[in-house]
Symmetry: C2
Subunit: 335 residues, 2 copies
């Protein structure tokens, strides 16, 4: 049976939520990943050192027997440099949300005033804390990411020593930015390597494929595939796996988020094999992230094998992407 | 209190379904409309004279006490002219669906071979039977209608004496066609005068706003409003009101269709008043359709008044557009 081995897989954009949801889903990521960058959009958001430490402890309590590192993040505000110096050893990045743009982002930034942000972003540049950004305007849903490119330009040129990660990119416009500014990086989800808007509303309307940013056009999908499959050194895997209960998805107003964490490695093997690029998956799933974030995850070896695997209909009360569908790769072992 | 009177409102694109659903919803249209063009996409589709007569009888049985005319349609196939001569007095139009493009369209046309269609479309031209078309390609969801414009061109130029109605148009591209070909007409829904894709997937995902063709971009909405508000003489109201049970909308694969019939007149008053075009609503809601289809509906006078009206949360087990929301106009009386 054909197998493929991945070393220290990393998920550089993960929502673990809190409480019972955290307990139910964190073990699924901890099983197959060496570590993950944990998003701070709890209610209320993670914005103090105490919040970071306490959330990390709650995460670790759910996965006592796994080698799994939760790389913590702080919810972006215009913090002063004294505060940032106290948290630098406890967070891997700071995550910026435009206000109201996605789940639990109400406390985010309502305008991009460079002068108001200068102290924070210069301190982050000096301290070496990357800025992760949910890059969407408040415009028409298909244009939001492309419209945000001018903000990335502004940030990248004003803070040339700041590492800026364009999170969960979905457009050719964002892909094109990677080679324009040396300090711009990106994460890409597995669902955005498979979906266009057709998979959300092109046939039946599919709430479990609905996320923000929404999947875009075929030419955008092609652009994302091109940099992911080549493992462009500025691109990393970030699942943006974002669980909601079935009741919050299959209803009259469905929450945004695709739950992909437990099947991400299997699907990535399928995609990279399909394009005959399996050799590049290691860089996309781990090596690039290690270089970009300067992190050294503990050893973990995941062996996948090519055999039919039926995705579960649900994990506790969360319906995953591709629920009940057969995919071509499965996890054989994790060591 | 401000009032507005509409005479003989017509809904030139209506799905009444069959069985219990028909019994539940037909009275809602029959109450406020003088007549409606009834879509033939039942399972199996309406495609014989017997089907037409029997379906019309089933409709009339649900609305015994209303002055309501169901203008019947036949599901398009390449019929011969002899057959068409036998049905001309029993149908108002023939409705063409590309195969598989929407609910119950599996028996539709899988290719547009003009020579294979010639006998049918020439006979329809001679007999004066309009062709109503669901104009979407099988391409990317946001491009489907625009891609179909070449088919409209082909039909309009090859059959210059055939009246062709572009159903439920959603794009500027379709609006632009109206003045290019004298034999092209269009219906517009009320939801496409209010929604863009933002209302479907721009915030939460809204299954009750999901329909085919899907609502498009802001500039498309503007183009639709421009011809509707001016009551362009080639444009008519057609609700495309398409009920599905709540269970088929709020689930893992939501059916396409917005249920708007019971609130269409109220919403149209609100829209036309907002743009100070109430005087044009009569042409959009009835007069244009009478001219285009050469129909003379029985007298019905609907008086609407400007007062808050809370849209019901559901009509039997169907959730309407704007469920539980307050709108600004209500029906005062129907005579």
């Amino acid at each position: 049976m054909k197998t493929h081995t991945l070393l220290m897989p990393l998920d550089m954009h993960l929502h673990l939520r809190d409480g019972v949801m955290l307990e139910n889903i964190a073990p699924l990521s901890a099983y197959s990943f060496s570590g993950a960058l944990i998003m701070p959009n709890l209610v209320p958001p993670v914005e103090t050192l105490e919040d970071v430490k306490a959330y990390k402890e709650r995460i670790m309590a759910t996965v006592p027997n796994d080698f799994f590192e939760p790389y913590m993040t702080l919810f972006y505000k215009n913090y002063d440099k004294k505060f940032l110096a106290t948290i630098v050893d406890h967070v891997t990045a700071i995550k910026l949300y435009p206000a109201g743009i996605t789940t639990n982002s109400e406390g985010g930034l309502s305008s991009f005033n460079i002068e108001e942000m200068r102290e924070t972003l210069e301190a982050m540049s000096i301290l070496g804390i990357p800025l992760c950004v949910h890059g969407e305007s408040d415009g028409f849903v298909m244009d939001r990411e492309e419209e945000f490119m001018s903000i990335y330009e502004l940030l990248a040129t004003n803070f040339p020593d700041l590492k800026i990660v364009m999170e969960h990119i979905t457009t050719k416009a964002a892909v094109d930015m990677l080679d324009k500014h040396k300090n711009l990086y990106a994460t890409i989800t597995v669902h955005h390597l498979l979906f266009t808007l057709d998979d959300v509303v092109g046939g039946m309307m599919m709430p479990h494929n609905f996320c923000k940013p929404i999947a875009k056009r075929p030419e955008d999908l092609d652009a994302l595939l091109s940099v992911a499959l080549e493992a462009h050194p500025k691109v990393m895997f970030g699942s943006d796996s974002a669980p909601h209960s079935k009741e919050k998805k299959e209803c009259s107003g469905c929450a945004a988020g695709v739950f992909s964490a437990p099947i991400a490695l299997q699907l990535l093997c399928e995609i990279f094999e399909q394009y005959d690029k399996l050799d590049n998956l290691q860089a996309f799933i781990s090596d690039n992230a290690q270089s970009i974030y300067k992190i050294c995850p503990e050893f973990k070896e995941v062996i996948l094998e090519k055999r039919p695997f039926i995705v579960p209909a649900s994990y506790s009360n969360v319906v995953p992407m591709y629920a009940s569908r057969a995919i071509n790769w499965a996890i054989r072992s994790v060591e």
